[in-house]
Symmetry: C2
Amino acid sequence: MRRGLVIVNTGDGKGKTTAALGVLFRAWGRDFNVRMFQFIKHSTARFGEHRAAERIGLPIESLGDGFTWLSKDMDETTALAVAQWERCKQAILAGEEDLIVLDEFTYAMHYEWVAVSDVIETLKQRPEAMHVIITGRYAPQELIDYADLVTEMTLIKHPFEDQGIKAQPGIEF
Amino acid sequence: MRRGLVIVNTGDGKGKTTAALGVLFRAWGRDFNVRMFQFIKHSTARFGEHRAAERIGLPIESLGDGFTWLSKDMDETTALAVAQWERCKQAILAGEEDLIVLDEFTYAMHYEWVAVSDVIETLKQRPEAMHVIITGRYAPQELIDYADLVTEMTLIKHPFEDQGIKAQPGIEF
């Protein structure tokens, strides 16, 4: 019955990370060992999900420097992403979790800081029952081809863009 | 700064409910008062999210009878959906929560068990800072027009349909 899935949440819309958080929460409810690695958010970020995760003892590990594709210090950004991927890789191969989330990891592949082939090779070597969720825009086609479940989140309407509403704490972060 | 949003997660893809759960989790991390009403899942359902929610004292109230549009007992189904909506309405108007999730509520509107106009009228009367998330396929256009943030989840690839893999506990439910 247990068959580990590779799940990708991609697209320009909202809900990619929160859907992964929802699955994490659900899996935690079933006593799964779960672990989340974040690639974009700054390692000192204390957003709603970090506070909630801390409270229930669920590890969310951020190693990003809060970079974007506009980062002025691209070498540092690349190095951090590569280092974070190495940690993820170790966790995937160690096989101690039932579910690992690589949040906003697609960017690292999209910008070629991490080779998609390395990611797929690592996923192939994971324990059979381990689920892995990867989120972020621009999921590489090779990853989509390999994944079991791929969802695209599409923006239909957004309060920031349409109405100039500020990001809401507890909802957006 | 605080401005309550009406958020709709719709479309045929996965992630509508889990994205709402993720926001719920995030909001809970910020000490928001949160509450979730489910419309489809049977009131005795003990899925991952129910176990997790119970564990952290987060109320998820299911009143559905596990109906689908193939329900053989449609009157009962309609009555349950209407009763559940009345409870939601009271909660929305009472205004004690910062975030209320109406999970899979779109079906009740789509099948005309609940009038969209009644829903929008109720949302208009809610406290200014209250966020409401509504999930489910077939979100009525009138609701989309009224909402602040609308995301469509689109299925790109699904293991059930493509590979005949069974639903995975902790991931799918």
